[in-house]
Symmetry: C2
Subunit: 396 residues, 2 copies
Amino acid sequence: MQLAEPMIEDWRAFTTHVSLDDAVIAQDAVTLTWSDRRVSLFHFAWLRDNCACSQCVHPLTREQVFEIADMPDDLRIQAASIDHNGALNTQWTDGHRSVYGPGWLRAHAYDETSRAERRGGDQVQPWCSEYGAALTAFDWHEIRHDDTALLAWLVALRRTGLTLLRGVPSTPDTVAEVAQRISFIRESNFGVLFDVVSKPTPDSNAYTSINLPPHTDLPTRELQPGLQFLHCLINEASGGDSIFIDGFALAAHLRQHEPEVFATLTSVPFEFWNKSATSDYRASAPVIALDGAGEVSEVRHANFLRGPVSARSELMPEIYHAYRRFIQLGRDPRFRVQRRLAAGEMWAFDNRRVLHARTEFDPQTGARHLQGCYIDRDELLSRIRVLERAVGAKAR
Amino acid sequence: MQLAEPMIEDWRAFTTHVSLDDAVIAQDAVTLTWSDRRVSLFHFAWLRDNCACSQCVHPLTREQVFEIADMPDDLRIQAASIDHNGALNTQWTDGHRSVYGPGWLRAHAYDETSRAERRGGDQVQPWCSEYGAALTAFDWHEIRHDDTALLAWLVALRRTGLTLLRGVPSTPDTVAEVAQRISFIRESNFGVLFDVVSKPTPDSNAYTSINLPPHTDLPTRELQPGLQFLHCLINEASGGDSIFIDGFALAAHLRQHEPEVFATLTSVPFEFWNKSATSDYRASAPVIALDGAGEVSEVRHANFLRGPVSARSELMPEIYHAYRRFIQLGRDPRFRVQRRLAAGEMWAFDNRRVLHARTEFDPQTGARHLQGCYIDRDELLSRIRVLERAVGAKAR
């Protein structure tokens, strides 16, 4: 049963071009040698934790029921062999047996070579103003009906952080249909969908006609929305161009040319506050966030949604220097993509990476109505993984 | 205009029991001396950034329109005085004038004393098994109609992370009404509301009748849901008790008694995976998260929602030792609150702090139906702040 594809512990099938040559039992681990001479060590505890038999993993949910705390302290593998399917068979000292397919073992091996291999994959591509001319539009009609077109769009969105869709009917609430092609929508205090129009009693500068400087939306939340969709229903007013700046490109520029500014922006928490009559959101976070590997993972910035900086007094001059430099760099035309959205077009962008801005418009000259919504990164990535499973299945 | 209460830059009124005695202009800052002899330095850039006049802040949205990058490099305050309202009046070298109320300045001062004062406030209270007996139930009828009762409940939830509600009508979807008393609900792939019942084709161990070990919900998302609500509609099956463990108490215990285990659990990312036929969520994060000040801010744990550990081979023995210790500690009766929920009762708990578990139940002996939903921490904290504004207004 354990050798059926897909394995019980996963919903994917694991294929591999290499085979297991040898299994040797060491003190607290099994050393496996592959046909390409790679050597992978698997500790007893790790192997016991990952036993995928129907006693250890619930056969219907494929979630683990065994807990590694129940492994006896002295449990060992007493016999290990490669069976006729090429799988690792282990016999444990308490009588349990486990079987691990070679494709699955190769995909989860934690020797240095295997881990480095997994860190590769689809890379982020920072961009500057030239990207505006290179921006190809995706066609909503194709995406709507075809999973391959959907996957191509989502992979581009993950890589570049900014995509344009065409052919999106300029009827209200269509933006929801597009977003739901990916997943459910993330609600906020501005609603499930929000209407970007000039309002008589605005509760955000977005709902006036003034220019909006480059910003991410909802920086006042612990988790900024991952994706933002802005669908143009009507754009007949003069002004009101869309401007986009790749925050990862700004960060890369600062890291290289002004490392002290970069160090301040990645280490000092700024205060992001969004106060209104009915809400009072606050988050404290650096403008540029780094992940565990030191790579830029997020930009958080909206000048108009900040509380007073609270930091050690000695740091204040360098904090303001760094913050002013960040704003100045965002004004540099080299980094800016500017484009006027027409009815039936839609922006889809990574709100935690790409800053968006709007030039002032004149509501006296015509109507302007954009409709928007958010989805989190988790949903995008999950959708891509599930779509790629189908592609992987076709390829076999 | 700037002295009207509330000030334009905020929705609160700022009162203070101290007054400004003196303002002295230094090289790049103003030094203010208060009537209680506290001295607060305010840098020119900070003051210019926080000018709340109607040119710098939009009068309707109360969001900033001035950007500090537009401050001339050589801008200085040429005159500073305390006016007859006790406010700081500044005359800038470019002709701009700014006025800052003393209450607002005191509330945002960044001298060391003022910052330490603000770090105080409502403290988290870790708890052990004794908390079960001390658990007082909040009455939904009161909370539903009375903002003071609502605030008392929410403050208790923020402090303890675990509260019980009574008098919640055991009709389906009532849990949504309770949650929406705070804010909108956070949707997940399990829906806006989820039904915890034993299902014939479960897509999660939660939807079986087996015991569920201590866990947080949705650890597979970058941001775990902040609050979880579990409302009991019917509980006639034998078994199925609720168990709660304060993850912050476990973390505090490990930090004190097993610092090496604590160090591993706060530094090594674990893989949290939730795969199903239609979704594939993955997050990589330590079991115990620390905030910028080194305080425990989050616990992330669900044994049945993990992917294989991927870490340097040399670390594997200590990783498994630490993880086994964490599970073992969660089984220790000293930390456990166990209680059977009756129809009409509801748990509300901090899902990023409190682990919850369920004993096995026998679906042959009767029906069991819980209904649940999530809300994020941001919504809880915003709601508390807005409610506290009203209390503050009453107190004046």
